[in-house]
Symmetry: C2
Subunit: 114 residues, 2 copies
Amino acid sequence: MPDFHVTSPAVPLPKMPTQLENAMDTLIQVFHHYSGKEGDKYKLNKGELKQLLTSELTEFLSCQKDPQLVDKIMRDLDTNKDNEVDFNEFVVLVAALTVACNDFFEEQLKNTGI
Amino acid sequence: MPDFHVTSPAVPLPKMPTQLENAMDTLIQVFHHYSGKEGDKYKLNKGELKQLLTSELTEFLSCQKDPQLVDKIMRDLDTNKDNEVDFNEFVVLVAALTVACNDFFEEQLKNTGI
């Protein structure tokens, strides 16, 4: 009778995604949740962008009093001027906001001397 | 006796962060978990970058066979040439990888005709 030493499963178990992989996946899922609502489902029109900002970046928007803000963000992000925001343009917004949050976080760490 | 109609708590309850805010926070926490290990605690040196890539981007690295990959990524990201990667440089990597994942995801959606 053969002597089987099974040290790993015959079919590899799928790896659990890491925290960073989960975060990257969230950016993709959140974008498509809103971009898929109407029109081109791979791009955010102004209404979809506004919904995304209002629902997903509530802390950021709550400090902003400018009623033209969504228009301004749309203009800044829409680098190819098609009046819509694609995923690449959206990631630029997320990156810029995350860098701003990190600057604030590092400043706090430096002030507390940790 | 006064008639109190309490419709909201006296002290506002802290809002739960949204999925997107959590994802942005994760990028910051993951970066600082590795950058804080040695040397300048706000920057990744080559060893810290390698640890971060190996532990947090396992799926991405598992497809790569190039033994010089970490050196190449370090060279590409380190735009200010101080031999370290700061948070702004790190976000560029995450953004580029997420855009690549999204391209793949959109291609799959288009092929399945959903």
